[in-house]
Amino acid sequence: MARKTVAKKTAARKTVKKKTGAAGAFYSQPHLLGIADLERKDIEALLSTARAFRPAVERNESIPLLSGKTVVNLFFENSTRTRLSFEVATRRLGGGNLNFAASTSSVSKGETLMDTARNIEAMKPHCIVVRHSSAGSPQILSRTVGMPVVNAGDGFHEHPTQALLDAFTIQEKLGSLEGKRVVILGDIAHSRVARSNIHLLRKLGASVAVCGPPTLLPPHPEVLGVDSSYRLEPLLQDADVVMCLRIQLERQNRLQMPSVQEYSRVWGLSKDRAELMKKGAIILHPGPINRGVELDPEVADSPRSVILDQVSNGVLVRMAVLASVVNPEGLRAWMQSQRSANRSRR
């Protein structure tokens, strides 16, 4: 059954490639809820849109694709960098932000998630960016509200824009993802970043290994199509990319792991372990980093580390996502105008 689906998808991918060629397709979905259900062409469309934005952003030109539009950041879970990144992305596109920070879920307020959504909808914004501790909440919202919904992280499920910015960063540093080996290290089982990355990296042709304490690894790695190991060292020499995940102290307890010190001792990316990595291999981390836990301070600041590039790229990727779902026609026209401008520049 699973094999059939894979075969079908590969076939679809080939036809698409033939049709669209290098001109670049556009994202075809109304929302961005997760990576699992996206086809490769949609992922590539978002990444190439992000690339297209970069020169204009660097020249500090305005890209007014969201002018007159309001993006609601509906955050049911604390977040600084993701929310800021979406805010900056919105502003660079000339749009306005509404921030709705609810530290508690709708349930504890006695309001249902649907009620919250309909209230926000009644204010007539143009897009909802949602983060929620409950997996599936963006799906539920997307069925309720009549506007694009972008998932900024839901429970342990998905964090699609993080995976996109990671892929963007890897492509920027290493070229294509095809054939690359990515090791994801840390709490995989409870990580939406890992889940979205696994889907995306595999769809773009990379192979993935996950590593960490058995209590924090997914129980069925084969279904995710990844290799799984409790030991880090043997994985390092073949890795093109090592992605360290935050060990979330608040979520850990002694039933899953004896101590953070023990994690660091056995699974931390120490200076010695980082030396096992091959030349040119890079280190990613979605942040915020716990220096001395997931990776040694020297490693975090070493040339292999591309952590701050990830942050910059996050804005470009989120611009691409917002423009694609809120103003797809405008985006097409803008891309067209850029192409002709480039031609005349030449």
Binding site: L113, M114, S134, A135, F156, H157, R195, P219, H220, V223
Partner: protein, 431 residues
């Protein structure tokens, strides 16, 4: 409502009369007199002038009134979800003539006074027979025994902490020992709550993919095994509620082979739906125990077919919008089931997986035997609880059909084949 005192006579003519309790299956006529089964005979042998009323049942199945040993009527305390009146209206619309209601009301049915309240409220407002299930422990807290003797004397027919299973094995053993004095079975919602943790769906590859916390099959397997072990120790009748796992079924099989008084029920949803429904994050697929794998569903269907699963019970669990229109992992567990049990499980008969005789047995005489009720049979002289089903009528479930106060059903909009045509309790047609 008082049942069984209905004066008069009713002749049900020309239906296929099926009663597994007496190996009956033939086309014929059934006569009810003064609330009791008076006669069953071949077509035309009972003179029409013996009856004041006649029902033409040609093309229909005539069977004992259905019995559901596992429903939540929510009264007292949670009347925004359901009341004894609305819940029993849903029951008769679904072909049920008797229901047993779980103890997780507010206050909990853990004293004779609450049991008596339910009994009196049912007498005043119920449209079918209602049998309270008393709590095993005070407040369902699993700390000390509830007043079992007093509840039984007020009409409790079984004991259960249902969704809050007794985790302390010593206390459960004492409850089983104690219950033997009163001749009532203990119904166990068999899940190890520590292992369930915050699990929101069946644990496996799919929970991993969907990012929902898993509730492993092992949580059920462990508690089924414990209940069997305690039954072996105490010989108290134990009934496993809504069993859902292949391995759990094997524990029940072993118990039965050893002659222990262990029985099991399966719910219509566990018999027909699997975990892949969760892909939608639709909270109407959130249950406890959770929907399991395709393999478990198949094992459950086979177990029902062979009688390893004795009976079907709905676990009718009405919830309001505030309980269900929320984030998946925070949504309440359970669905309404009284009006969909017949058509949903009838699909297994239509598909040739479960025999017609076994299906009816699982909804009539088996639940009657569990609760020691004189119903679930069409034997002459017994109270005339009868259900008529039109097995081929197609219909689509819509809000207009729902008699329950709550609408939390995953089958809304689903087309069914099989329709409850009439429900008769104590000789009186209530639907």
């Amino acid at each position: 409502m008082n049942f069984g005192t209905h004066k008069g006579s009713l002749l049900i003519r020309g239906g296929r009369i099926i009663d597994p309790s007496q190996q009956l299956d033939h086309v014929g006529d059934l006569l009810i007199e003064d609330g009791k089964i008076a006669a069953i005979d071949r077509s035309g042998r009972i003179p029409a002038n013996r009856a004041q009323e006649i029902i033409d049942a040609r093309g229909m199945w005539v069977m004992p009134g259905l019995i559901d040993v596992h429903v939540h009527l929510r009264e007292p305390g949670l009347e925004y979800k359901e009341t004894i009146e609305t819940g029993t209206r849903a029951a008769v619309a679904g072909g049920f003539t008797s229901v047993a209601c779980m103890a997780n009301t507010q206050p909990v049915n853990d004293t004779p006074y609450v049991t008596a309240f339910i009994r009196e409220k049912a007498k005043a407002s119920a449209v079918c027979r209602v049998f309270p299930v008393g709590a095993v422990t005070r407040g369902l807290k699993g700390e000390e025994l509830a007043e079992i003797g007093g509840m039984v004397s007020e009409g409790a027919m079984a004991l259960s902490d249902d969704g809050m299973p007794v985790m302390n094995s010593y206390l459960m053993r004492k409850a089983m020992d104690y219950a033997k004095a009163f001749g009532v079975p203990i119904i166990s919602h068999a899940e190890d709550l520590n292992l369930v943790g915050q699990g929101a769906m069946n644990e496996g590859a799919l929970s991993n993919e969907l990012g929902l916390r898993g509730n492993p099959a092992a949580a059920e397997e462990i508690l089924v095994a414990r209940e069997v072990a305690l039954c072996r120790l105490t010989r108290c009748p134990v009934h496993i509620a809504h069993i859902s796992t292949e391995v759990g079924l094997e524990h029940v099989r072993r118990a039965k082979e050893d002659g222990l008084p262990v029985t099991a029920e399966a719910s219509p949803h566990h018999l027909t739906l699997d975990e892949t429904e969760l892909r939608s994050y639709d909270t109407n697929y959130k249950m406890a125990p959770p929907l399991r794998s395709e393999r478990d569903v198949e094992a459950l269907q086979n177990a029902l077919a062979e009688g390893l699963v004795d009976l079907v019970a709905t676990d009718h669990a009405p919830h309001g919008v505030v309980d269900k229109a929320v984030e998946f992992d925070q949504a309440a567990n359970g669905i309404i089931g009284l009006q969909t049990a017949v058509p949903v499980t009838l699909e297994l008969v239509h598909d040739g997986i479960v025999s017609l005789n076994r299906w009816i047995e699982a909804l009539t005489i088996k639940p009657a035997q569990l609760l020691n009720l004189p119903y679930g049979t069409l034997r002459k002289g017994r109270p005339a609880d009868v259900t008529l089903i039109d097995p081929d009528r197609r219909w689509t479930l819509g809000p207009e059909h729902v008699a329950s106060k709550s609408h939390n059903s995953p089958w809304m909009g689903h087309e069914f084949r099989g329709w409850v045509a009439a429900t008769i309790i104590g000789g009186k047609q209530v639907r």
